[in-house]
Chain length 220, copies 2
C-alpha cells in the first residue's frame, strides 16, 4: 500500500534565508545519495527526522521472504523518519534513493525543544510538523473508514465518495492502479474487478482506465 502524502510542507511559511539559518542552528549538513543507495534504516528508538531536499526516494518494508512493499513515496520537500511511522515494529523498514538525492537529517528533540539560539521560526516549524502528523493521521482515519465496510461494493463506493469529495467533483482520477486499489481496500483483485463491473452495469459509476465518474447516489 502506497501512501501518497500530499499534506502541508515542513517548511511552508519559512523563507529560504531562514531555512538556511535554521539548518545551521540544527547543525544539519546536506548528504548526497545515488539512485539505489540506502539512505537509512528505521530503528526502534531513533527519532531522527529526514528531509528530502532534492530527488526522489521510497520508504520500503522488506519481508523475511525478501519481498518488498513501498510504504511511502518521497520527493522534494518530503520528510520521513520513525516519528512519522506509527508502528512499534520497525523491522525491515528502510529509505532508498530512487534518484540522486540530497537529504538533511535533524534531531527530533532539537525541533521539539525550544531553541536556545532562538530561531524565530521555530514555532512555525513545530506547527508545520503538527499539521503533517495530523494529516497523516487523517489519511489513516480515512483508510479505516473505507476498510470498515463489510462488502467490496461498500468499500469501493466509500472510497470513490471520498475521492469525489476531495476533488469537489463526481469525476476524478484514481491516484493508483486498480491492483493497488484492491490492495488498499484489502480485497481480492479479481473479486473487486467483478464487483466494479456490476456497479458499472447497475449504473452507479462509470469507469474507464483510471477515470471514475459517480453517476447516481449510492446509499449504503
Amino acid at each position: 500500500m502506497v501512501n501518497t502524502v500530499s499534506c502541508s510542507h515542513m517548511f511552508s511559511g519559512i523563507s529560504q534565508e531562514n531555512y538556511n539559518r535554521m539548518m545551521s542552528c540544527f547543525n544539519s549538513a546536506p548528504k548526497k545519495y545515488l539512485a539505489g543507495e540506502t539512505i537509512c534504516f528505521y530503528e526502534p528508538k531513533k527519532r531522527t527526522v529526514g528531509i528530502i531536499e532534492k530527488g526522489r526516494a521510497v520508504v520500503v518494508k522488506t519481508f523475511y521472504s525478501g519481498s518488498q512493499t513501498i510504504l511511502e513515496q518521497l520527493s522534494d520537500g518530503s520528510i520521513f523518519g520513525e516519528v512519522f511511522y506509527f508502528h512499534a515494529n520497525t523491522d525491515g523498514i528502510s529509505v532508498i534513493a530512487a534518484s540522486e538525492c540530497t537529504v538533511r537529517f535533524i534531531d527530533y528533540e532539537h525541533i521539539m525543544t525550544s531553541c536556545h539560539n532562538a530561531c524565530q521560526h521555530h514555532s512555525q516549524l513545530i506547527q508545520n510538523l503538527f499539521s503533517i502528523i495530523s494529516c497523516k493521521a487523517a489519511e489513516l482515519s480515512e483508510h479505516i473508514d473505507v476498510l470498515s465496510h463489510r462488502t467490496i461494493r461498500e468499500k469501493l463506493m466509500a472510497y470513490f465518495q471520498i475521492q469525489s469529495s476531495k476533488n469537489n467533483s463526481t469525476k476524478f482520477k484514481l491516484p493508483f492502479s486498480l491492483s493497488a486499489l484492491a490492495d488498499y481496500i484489502s480485497v481480492d483483485r479479481s473479486a473487486m474487478m467483478r464487483e466494479i463491473k456490476k456497479i458499472k452495469e447497475e449504473g452507479y459509476i462509470d469507469i474507464s482506465q483510471k477515470e471514475v465518474t459517480l453517476l447516481k447516489e449510492y446509499i449504503q
Copy 2:
C-alpha cells in the same frame, strides 16, 4: 467503535504549581457540567482543546437516524477537541458529560504559538501534545493492521496477537465486549462467534468471557 486512549498525559512532567500558572497564562477558567449535559459540539474550523480535569465524559457521534456511537471515552486528564479528531466531517459529534465534570478549554493556537509570558513548560506541553497525537495515530495504524486482513479468522488472530504483545503475555483480557470486538474488526458478530468457536476447537486459543490465551503459533 470505542477508542480507549491510554496514551501519555497532556500535563505529564508538569507540576501542579506550573499547571495552575499555565492555566492562568492560557486564560482558561474551569467550567462545571452535570451528568448528561453537553460539553460542546465539534465544529469544522474550531480548534479548541478541552481537558477533563475531573469526571467522565464521552465523545459521541449522533447519526441522522438518531442512533449514537461512542467514539471515545474520557476520564480525569483526558483531552478532546477537533484537533484530535482526524475527520473533515464533524457533523453530529459532541462531547457529553457522563458524570459531573470539571472541564478546561484552551485555545489551540495559544499552545502552539510560543508564549510571550514565557511559560517554562510550554515546550514540555508541546512535546506531550505530540506524543498524544502520535499515540492516536499509532492506534489508527494498529486498527488498519487488523482490518486489512481478509478473513475473520485472520482479523481475530491479528487482533489477539497485538493484545498479547501489548500485555507481554499470551494471556490477556479483552478491553471491550465481544460485540464491540466484532464492531472493531468490522465483521458480523454471529460469524465472528462461529469463527471464535472454530479457532478454539482447533486449539489456537482459549477464551472464556473476556479472558483470552494464545495457545499455539498462528501463521497467516
